[in-house]
Amino acid sequence: MSINVLIVDDSGVMRAMILKSLRMSGLPLGETHQAANGQEGLDVLNQHWVDLVIVDINMPVMNGEEMIDRMRESPEIKDIPIVVISTEGSKTRLEKLQQKGAAFIHKPFSPETIRDTIRDIMNLGGDDEGAD
């Protein structure tokens, strides 16, 4: 099984860092897509098969929380696992995201944290590592 991933973050540097971490993680990566805000992310989801969404919260045009809400309202994409990677530090806001079924990774992060969180949310065992 390979995982098609969509990375949504308004920072090109952060998208590159997340992608680099995913490649280092040993997870079986398939296609990777990128978007700079929630609206662009939804457009990608309408055009491509995606198994996992990694999304920031604070973005222009459409923030990550609104994107998650739109995904959960749409039957075709409501069950896609979501990992939020953000600097958000407020307990209240984190609990709200968890109630929407999203996992959370705090910036700055390590590749191991990304790998373990994705394994957990996608129910992947430890022996699903890719060859690279």
Binding site: S11, V13, A16, N58, S86, T87, E88, G89
Partner: protein, 169 residues
């Protein structure tokens, strides 16, 4: 209180620079501020239990390595100007996002604006800094030496921080 916030600013900045840009930094509290004219500077403003602006200035000569590390570029690849600016904006964004709950506690709510590159720091600082006779007067400053250059962080806060807004670890 100021000393506690300064220590937190140093700790968060050193941690983020190491984890995000793979760069070790060393506190140089006694040195002068960077020459802002030859640095890339960015700011992030925030509102919440207290309101203010965090400013970050990085020596231009340190930026290629810093941005290259974040992007995972090879030694012979040079980051573009846009990538260098993006790297500084992401760094200050993460530093601010980690600093505020470290100062005020995780129960608090802050709204943090998107980071912006500042073209004329000296002039821009007048908008959010109370000046004394020695110039802009930040609540806390962290001066760090990094590979190939320097990095300054200045925390400006409007008015006084309420005592009950400070989280004691």
């Amino acid at each position: 209180m100021k000393e506690q916030i300064k220590k937190t600013l140093y700790r968060v900045a050193e941690d983020v620079l190491e984890k995000l840009a793979f760069i070790f930094s060393f506190p140089e509290d006694e040195r002068e501020n960077i020459d802002y004219a030859s640095a890339v500077t960015a700011k992030v403003s925030f509102t919440g239990p207290f309101t203010g602006t965090l400013v970050m200035a990085v020596s231009s000569r340190a930026l290629p390595e810093l941005a290259g590390n974040m992007l995972g570029l090879e030694d012979d690849e040079e980051p573009t100007l846009e990538q260098r600016y993006d790297a500084v904006k992401e760094l200050i964004n993460v530093i601010c996002g980690n600093l505020l709950p470290a100062v005020a506690g995780k129960e608090t709510l802050f709204n943090v604006d998107p980071p912006k590159i500042i073209k004329d720091l000296e002039n821009d600082m007048k908008a959010f800094s109370s000046e004394n006779e020695e110039g802009p007067n930040p609540l806390a400053a962290a001066r760090l030496d990094i590979d190939e250059g320097q990095c300054d962080l200045l925390l400006f806060v409007e008015g006084d921080i309420p005592t009950d807004a400070i989280h004691s670890e």
